[in-house]
């Protein structure tokens, strides 16, 4: 098997074995722990009072602008990874190109900042 394939084979094995090892104590609990069905026990915890409505209500996720900015910058960072590895072989031109790319993004960040997208409202 080529090394790269073998690497990911290991990762896959780790994921499977890890899942099994994480489930193992849950099985032990299932075997050992006592069970008693009391209706009060399965009520959602809300500081000891009867819960008011459900938590799955319409909810203003206030940071969705951050999430948008995040997507932009996360993609940008992904582009940076390959550049980071080879930029010294590619020389000044590659650096200048990346500089341009990052400057555009920095302008974008400045714009988001100025527009108040980074404020917690």
């Amino acid at each position: 098997m080529p090394k790269v394939l073998l690497d990911w084979f290991y990762v896959a094995v780790f994921a499977v074995v890890g899942t099994l090892m994480a489930v193992l104590p849950l099985i032990v609990v299932w075997l050992l722990a006592p069970r008693a069905d009391l209706p009060q026990k399965t009520i959602t915890y809300e500081s000891g009072v009867i819960p008011f409505g459900q938590a799955w209500a319409q909810f203003n996720v206030r940071y969705y602008l951050f999430a948008l900015v995040f997507v932009v910058f996360d993609v940008e960072v992904i582009y940076l990874y390959p550049w980071a590895v080879v930029f010294r072989q590619l020389g000044t031109f590659a650096f200048a190109e990346m500089l341009l790319f990052l400057l555009v993004l920095l302008v974008g960040l400045a714009y988001a900042w100025r527009k108040g997208a980074l404020e917690w409202v």
């Binding site: 399965t42 915890y45 909810f59 590895v85 010294r88």
Partner: protein
């Protein structure tokens, strides 16, 4: 059959590392946390079970194994049950690329994946899926708020974190974790203090800036104080795991401590403060203290940096003493650095108050992100112009 051997090896390693995580990271980690908290608050901490209370977490685990699982009536049962497993497995997967040290000519690492640091960053962010799943599926308001806070925090700090990792990859010219360590060994010092020749020690400011960015972002990624808003005990009960009982709760804890130990041992992060920084900080602290600016908020972080520097320079001092580094295996140094950093995290917990959410986001987007990007550019510039 070579593939069968590889399969058995992989299974064996997975079991060993999971056990290592459960015993060293989670059990010992919780014990240390309680003992160090006790020490800082001038009390004893656990002391009754085992010598110096060493078996306290073992006893706790046995207790948790006997606790009933409760799935709240209104929860989404499937997601609720899967979420803790996701968090634990994500923490385990991080460890695939972390080099533990060297044994003779062999590097102690599960797999030296060629895109190691990218893989690490990706796995570290899988945790957030488990956390949101747990928080949302509980159908509990505290848990939901905790999960959502966690999402905003983790996505905000993922970019500075990635920039910190990227910085090291850029200097080393490789994405492999083993490669990054090797590059630091070749030049005889951590990137934090020294860039590859001919830049050498002039690289100090870049290195320290990158490391500080990473340090802050890593603390936030693992939800530790002062960035522990997702689980803020005093306002959200326990945040996303408010509804979890017994062993499922323990799995969340395992994932969290596993991440904490893992995140902090990323290759360029083992390197930390050095004597120079310590001295600098001590001087600044002394100046501030003697000029009567005692109340300034600056004193605490500076003193803490100085303390961390001192701690690690002691580790390093003894580490680089001629001969000693040959006597003690590199695994020991790995563990020493790991525990020094974990101790620092626990120390920070009792030093800083929790940030507000808006402060947290400001720090990430308006300070760390521009700083990290500019640092990346500046280092790239220096490397392109002088580094060839």
């Amino acid at each position: 059959m070579p593939w069968l051997i590889e399969l058995l090896k992989a299974i064996g390693l997975a079991v060993v590392i999971f056990t290592f995580l459960a015993v060293v990271a989670a059990m010992l980690g919780v014990y240390l946390e309680r003992k160090i908290s006790g020490w800082i608050q001038a009390r004893l901490g656990p002391k009754h079970i085992g010598p110096q209370g060493l078996l306290q977490t073992v006893a706790d685990t046995v207790k948790l194994l006997q606790k009933e699982h409760i799935t709240p009536r209104h929860a989404d049962a499937l997601i609720f049950n899967v979420a803790p497993v996701i968090v634990a497995v994500a923490a385990l997967l991080d460890w695939v690329v972390i080099p533990f040290g060297k044994l003779g000519d062999r590097v102690l690492v599960v797999r030296d994946i060629n895109i190691g640091v990218l893989y690490f960053a990706a796995m570290a962010s899988v945790t957030v899926v488990g956390i949101i799943a747990g928080g949302w599926s509980s159908n509990n308001k505290y848990a939901l708020l905790g999960g959502l806070r966690s999402a905003s925090q983790m996505i905000s700090y993922e970019i500075p974190l990635a920039l910190g990792i990227l910085w090291a990859a850029m200097v080393a010219g490789t994405l492999s974790t083993v490669g990054i360590v090797d590059a630091q060994v070749r030049q005889g010092s951590w990137f934090m203090f020294k860039l590859p020749s001919p830049i050498g020690w002039f690289g100090l400011p870049f290195g320290i800036l990158a490391s500080l960015t990473f340090l802050t972002a890593a603390t936030a990624e693992v939800n530790r104080v002062p960035f522990d808003l997702p689980e803020a005990e005093s306002e959200l009960v326990a945040g996303y795991f408010a509804e979890y009982t017994g062993m499922r709760f323990a799995l969340f804890q395992l994932g969290e401590y596993g991440e904490m130990f893992g995140g902090w041992t990323e290759p360029h992060l083992q390197p930390y403060m050095w004597l120079l920084v310590t001295l600098g900080c001590l001087v600044v602290a002394a100046v501030i203290l003697t000029t009567g600016l005692r109340q300034t908020l600056l004193v605490r972080p500076i003193l803490m940096l100085a303390g961390l520097g001192l701690l690690l320079s002691l580790v390093m001092f003894f580490g680089t003493r001629a001969g000693l580094s040959q006597v003690l295996p590199s695994l020991m140094w790995f563990l020493a650095k790991m525990f020094a950093l974990v101790f620092f995290l626990m120390w920070m917990r009792w030093t800083y108050p929790r940030l507000r959410l808006d402060q947290l986001l400001t720090l990430s987007w308006k300070v760390l992100l521009p700083l990290g990007l500019l640092n990346l550019l500046a280092t790239g510039f220096v490397l392109t112009v002088w580094g060839r």
